[in-house]
Point group: C2
Chain length 205, copies 2
């Protein structure tokens, strides 16, 4: 009775979220007014407030929806018994594919949340750190198994890993790097390759 009877409302809510992604990607969070979102969604101003408590809540919803996918994928990868390099590679690939699949949403998440340490980054720090944490644990396991050198702090690596990948995505977002399918493939492989080589034990070390 409660679910599925009225279809329209769900669509409008979705329309608002989708519109918000487009507008945030185009103008940035701070310089989009709520009216812009409503216009883009073809909906009255007030309706945004019917579905969301505030402009901020719209952003939070967008972030949480997507980030939880990343977290789930990371956890699944961690639980599996692939070699560490493959796990890291899987995470990198997931992020890059997310970008390939929906560049505007990823642009918004990176620019306005993940790298926006003063605004949303602060609010969502715990969830963001959870993602770093999976990487740290993969590296720590690698060290325990003697694959990775021990002098490197796993927590640092978690941060570098994301720092490097986000910077890469930023390169695409702002057109500093060509965003062809080929480049996407190469880039992901390269980050992991380089990072892993740096982490692995060497003959003499």
């Amino acid at each position: 009775m409660a679910e599925g009877v009225r279809a329209a409302p769900v669509d409008k809510r979705r329309a608002i979220l989708d519109a918000a992604v487009r507008v945030f990607a185009r103008q940035g969070y701070h310089s989009t007014r709520v009216a812009d979102i409503a216009d883009e969604a073809g909906v009255a101003y007030g309706l945004v407030y019917h579905y969301f408590r505030s402009k901020e809540a719209v952003m939070t919803e967008l972030f949480t929806e997507r980030w939880s996918l990343l977290l789930d994928a990371s956890d699944a990868l961690y639980e599996g018994d692939l070699p560490p390099r493959e796990k890291l590679s899987g995470i990198a690939r997931f992020i890059i594919d997310s970008y390939r699949h929906d560049p505007e949403l990823m642009k918004v998440i990176i620019v306005e949340v993940t790298r926006a340490a003063n605004s949303f980054g602060a609010t969502h720090l715990p969830e963001i750190r959870r993602a770093y944490d999976v990487v740290s644990r993969i590296v720590a396991d690698g060290q325990r198994d003697g694959v990775y050198r021990e002098e490197v702090d796993p927590d640092f690596v978690g941060m570098w890993f994301y720092g490097a990948i986000e910077q890469l995505l930023s390169g695409w977002v702002f057109g500093l790097i060509p965003a062809t399918d080929e480049e996407f493939e190469r880039a992901g492989a390269m980050v992991v390759e380089t990072l892993c080589c740096g982490l692995e034990r060497r003959d003499g070390t």
Copy 2:
């Protein structure tokens, strides 16, 4: 005649800049009002507009002052004939020392400019890219000299390098990592060590 005769004006200008650093670091650029800067500097509201065209101009001045130091240091390092690893290490150290020497200013630059791709990051992209570029050139030289593997795109490395270091600084800025002198040393060494190892040619490769 021009310099040093009237001391007061210069001091007030400086006081405004220094106050701005403190306030921006504390509250972030967007939520500091010009009145906050004036108050912190112990100066009348209007005087800020006497010395700077706008609130944005204050931020720009802060960024440019410091970033040009980094650029100069990078160029000097690049021109020298140290091995590539030492050059990269020098850049990393310079950035980390900048943070150690003036954490508030570096916090502001990283949070509000370097990683704020939507606001100031966009405005100052050219200068920011110049810094990446030096790293790219060092890597490219390393490849030419057969020290670094060739499959890695130097432009990517420039971005990773900064991505990783900024993420590290963010760790300190937001207290995710202990910010002791010892940690500063370790961290810088580790970034370069890991990155360089990843870049270097291996026996079989």
